[in-house]
Every structure is written in structure tokens, then in C-alpha cells.
Symmetry: C2
Subunit: 342 residues, 2 copies
């Protein structure tokens, strides 16, 4: 089987090109999401621990089974460590053998941005040119670059409670042709924005975005309300317009819609993302609508990311072959790998 480390993935992305990687990932995601009913779906497994959460996100279609391991520890950066680290594996369903083991920390950045890109494509106004980005952590540059691939984003208005995170954001994107407007509050960042994308890590019921800041016509990507007890949007925002989610069952537990009752969810929920891709539901219809993508991250997104990584690792011959499957001719002679006779 193939092992793809961080350096391997960086090589793959360099060889393929960042934007090509992102747009191919969007294609893989769309191909997988429209086959929604072919997938084995379940809410993620989560072990909640004092400092955070440890999760497994499995899914399968008829050909592949994938899962991602990912943690979420909001206090990690205080000790110089990343909030999330992820790894994942892909197996063939037919025999059950693993074929790819991959880093998924960077891949999670990619797939979250690529999925947001799809939501933005269907939900944001076509002429959206100003993006408000609240939270300039690990995910922010992926988001900034992805948004520009589907909307004519000229200006990014950004805010983070950590000034160093804003400095870093500027260093990374200073030469990418954006008009970067550093703000002193989330409210200031939202002022005049066509799209508001929120991605913070604080594990509590926060009101990062207040209802009064959201003007008619705005599209919101709410990315950081993604586990029980962790929300970002003023609850009133959810009643402002069409809400879409990835997978209702999981989102009611983990998303910003955990703040409202099941009856209220029925009232505000417009579609699952795959229904926009398949065309069975439409996204934005009026320029004055408010639209909300309440994202939590779903296993099929990791499935698509692993599928693309697998294909590109083979295409470019990048990655390491590792012996994780016993190299034995007789499948019942497992103990022979231990050379007991020697």
C-alpha cells in the first residue's frame, strides 16, 4: 500500500498546481456528492476529552471504504501546537485491503475549502467581490484562495482575535493580488461584505456573527460550528434565509442548527448540499436573499480527498510503498511472517 506523508502531499500539490488540485477536488466532491444515496453514511464517532475531541469519520461506496482520524484541541496553539491533526486511510471494499494511508491535516484544509467553494458557487451572489473572513487560522488561506475560484473576489476584510494570526495571513496572501483590509472587529470585517466566511476554533456557544451585521443579499459560510456545544452564529441568523447543510442528522448535533429545535430545523432547512449539486433543489434565487451554509465537515468530503490523493500519487509516482499487508502466499499462514523456525 501507499503512504503519503506531509512532504509527499506538498510535492503532489506543487506538481499538480494548487488551483488544479483545488478544482479537481471540487470535481471529485461533486461526483461523490451526487451519488449521495450510494454511500454508507453515519454521524462521526467522537471521544470527548477534557482538552478537545478525537474523531473517526468513516464512509463507503461500493468501491472504496475510507475514514479520517482527526482531533480538535482548541487550546493547542497556546502551546505552539496545531488545533487539528488528521490522518486517513482508503481501502478497497472488494477484499477489504487498505491501499492508501495519507496525512490529512493539509487535506482537511483543502477539502473544507473545496466544499465551501461548492456551497458558495450555488448560494452566493454572482457578483460577490468582497469576502469577510472571520478567523485567520490554519483554514483561512485555503478559504481565501478557494472563494476566488468561483466568485470575482477583489477584497478580503478579515479579523482574528489573535493579531499574529492576521500578520501570518497577510504574509501568506500579500502577493496574491487581493485587496487585504485588516479589521479591528468581526463587525467591521462584515461591513460591506458579500460573503461572510467564519472559521473559529473556540469550543463554546459563541456569537461570532450578530444578526444585525448580516445585510440582505449576503451569503454566510459557517464553518466553525462543528461539534456539540460549539456554535458561531447568532441563532436569529438561521431564520433569515435558506439554510443548507451537508448531512442533516449529523448537523443537528454538531452544526449551528443545534441551537434550534427539530421543528425549527424543518422550517429553515432548505437542502442538503448534494441536492444543490444534483439539481433537485435550487440555491440562491434572489439577489436580496440571505443564504447560510452551516458546515460541519462530513466523511464523504474526506473520501473525495483521499480518492484524488490516491490518483495523483500514482499519476506522479509520489509516496512510499510500505508493507502493511502480510506478504504471504498462503493466506492462512499468517504466523509465517514471524519466522518462528529461525
Amino acid at each position: 500500500m501507499k503512504l503519503v506523508t506531509i512532504q509527499d502531499l506538498a510535492q503532489i500539490v506543487k506538481k499538480h498546481g494548487f488551483e488544479n488540485f483545488m478544482s479537481d477536488l471540487v470535481s471529485y466532491l461533486k461526483n461523490d456528492f451526487v451519488r449521495w444515496n450510494e454511500f454508507d453514511k453515519s454521524p462521526r464517532y467522537a471521544a470527548h476529552v477534557p482538552g478537545g475531541v478525537l474523531e473517526l469519520m468513516p464512509t463507503a461506496d461500493k468501491q472504496y471504504f475510507t475514514y479520517k482520524y482527526v482531533n480538535g484541541h482548541p487550546g493547542n496553539p497556546l502551546e505552539g501546537k496545531q488545533t487539528i491533526v488528521a490522518t486517513g486511510q482508503m481501502s478497497e471494499v472488494k477484499y477489504g485491503f487498505p491501499i492508501l494511508l495519507s496525512e490529512m491535516t493539509a487535506l482537511t484544509g483543502f477539502r473544507t475549502a473545496a466544499t465551501t467553494m461548492i456551497a458558495t458557487e450555488y448560494m452566493a451572489r454572482k457578483d460577490s467581490s468582497t469576502l469577510a473572513l472571520i478567523g485567520t487560522g490554519a483554514q483561512s488561506e485555503f478559504q481565501a484562495l478557494a472563494h476566488r475560484m468561483v466568485r470575482p473576489i477583489k477584497t478580503i476584510r478579515y479579523f482574528d482575535i489573535d493579531p499574529l494570526a492576521m500578520d501570518k495571513f497577510e504574509r501568506n496572501l500579500g502577493d496574491k493580488g487581493f485587496n487585504l483590509v485588516r479589521c479591528t472587529s468581526a463587525e467591521e470585517a462584515c461591513n460591506g461584505a458579500d460573503i461572510i466566511t467564519v472559521c473559529t476554533a473556540c469550543k463554546k456557544h459563541a456569537v461570532v456573527i450578530e444578526n444585525s451585521w448580516v445585510k440582505p443579499g449576503v451569503h454566510i459560510n459557517g464553518l466553525g460550528g462543528d461539534c456539540p456545544g460549539k456554535t458561531e452564529l447568532d441563532k436569529a441568523i438561521l431564520f433569515r434565509g435558506k439554510v443548507i447543510v451537508e448531512y442533516t442528522e449529523q448537523s443537528m448535533v454538531e452544526g449551528d442548527i443545534q441551537q434550534i429545535t427539530p421543528e425549527e430545523v424543518k422550517q429553515v432547512l432548505h437542502a442538503e448540499l448534494w441536492e444543490l449539486i444534483s439539481g433537485s433543489k435550487v440555491g440562491r434565487e434572489e439577489d436580496s436573499e440571505v443564504t447560510i451554509y452551516d458546515s460541519v465537515g462530513f466523511a464523504i468530503e474526506d473520501f473525495s480527498a483521499l480518492r484524488l490523493t490516491h490518483d495523483l500519487a500514482h499519476k506522479y509516482g509520489i509516496g512510499h510503498d510500505i508493507d502493511m499487508i502480510p506478504p504471504i502466499n498462503d493466506p492462512k499462514n499468517l504466523i509465517s511472517v514471524l519466522d518462528l523456525h529461525k
Copy 2:
């Protein structure tokens, strides 16, 4: 983080010694099982597919989170492939970062045998000298060698529907000092046995062992009744004596006790394995009792196996260091691993 491949594990076992590895694993298992209430426990995640099953088995204590990926495809050997292949990962709970990625196919062989060894230690008659082994597949040699570490096993009476699997068993254990008695049926193998250990892979409700073959005083290790619709024991055997399981909630779905009602389970279930280790329940009390260990395999067993592998990999300096955690000083600067400026 550390990667332990099949060859790495084989080296570790060679360096440490097969019996030392097995007995240390028994110690780790006992240390973990007695802390039963400290673990985050849940039944495994299983995706049932036409040819088999794909599973994730997570668990955690306050220090480590582990999971195993394992498939079970009974038809694989017909195509020269192993029935099960497994991999696993261990992370530190404090920060959520993975520290070990390991092969677990051979480790599953070890931990299943080591757990059976514990059940046998508490449940089998002290003077047990004849072992009946039904199924001489990948697990059989691990079992044979493990049983001898806790009981004075002289004779092994064995049967498999595949004669080649019996040939292989003889080649592997011919020089290990056992009196090997090849049988032409499971019934013949059980004749005169003190312990009956059954480990077959057929995914259906089979009656591999009939009630009338089980004489007073016998201990049964039922290892292959381990998923819904897959059982091995004549249901009547479950009413013959003390039944023990690893984790009742999971075993009622996956074990041989899936054949009986919850009320009947209450009636026959004597203890969970950890209660024998902690001393809160006793195992065998009379030489004439029939005792039954209905095993399905539980996540804590993989936890112990990964913990031991981690400790020995570091002790002997075996395994590969791989970059699966982004090597960045600023935890929020994830995108820097992609070198977008170059």
C-alpha cells in the same frame, strides 16, 4: 510519529521473543482490562458489504486514544488473499496527535490469542492437557502456543474443512513439542478434549460445535462467532454453564449469545472478562463445570497491543519515523507546508 510495518513487527517479536511478547501482552491486557471503567467504550463501527465487513474499533483512556481498522472477508482465501488485514493508530489524548501507526494483522493474531489465554487461565481446568482446535487458519498457531503458556497442553486434536490448512498447521507446529492429532471431523477433534477452541471464518449461523460433544469439565473458547449472523456454537451449549464475554453490549449483537434473548443472556451470563481479572467475579469453581468464553474481540485488546508495540518499538529502536504531523513552528500557518511562494 512512528510507523511499524509487518517487517518491523516481525523484528520486534524476534528481538523480544515470541513467548515474551505474548506474556507481556497478557500483562498489558490485564493492566488495561482492570481499568475497565476508565475507558471510553462503544460497539465497533461496521460497514457490511457484499463480500464481508469493514470495521473501526476505537477506544480511549485518559492518556491514549487508539483505533483499529480491520476487514473480514471470508471469501478472500479462495482468491489467495487473507480473510482479515488490519492497521491501527495510537494518539495522545492530551494534544490529539498520533504517535504510532502500526500493522495490526499479526497484532490481531497476538491479541486474540493473549485474551483467550486470560480467559483460559481463569476458566479452564488446571490440569487441562488436551486442546481441541477447530479451524486451523491464520489464528490457530497463535492459539496453540498461547494455550500452552497457561495450561499443561500436551496434545492438540485439530480439524479444518480445508486439508491444506491442516498441512500448514502441522508444518508450523511440528517442531514445537506438541502431540499433534489430525482429525477427520470437529466431533472427532472434541473427543477427549479438556479445552475446545473454535475459530472459523464462515459468515453464517453455523453449528460448528454440537452440544452433545461437550463433556462435563470442558472449557470452550468460541472465537469465530463475532459479527451479526455469524455464530459457531450450538445454542444449547450456552445454557450448559458459565458464559463470559468481553463487553456485553457488543457481544449481544456480535457474539454467539446473539442466538438467545436478552432475558436468556441475563440468565446465563456470568461475568465480563475484566471482572475475572479484577477478582470481583470468580471463574471456574468446580472441575465438572462447563465454561464458555464467547469472544468477539474488543477495542481495548487492540489498545493494549498498540501500547506494547509502541513501547517495544522505542525500546529496540525499530520502526520508521514518518512526517504525518505538519512540521511548522506557527500552528496557524498550515498552508506554509505547501510552499505557495515558491
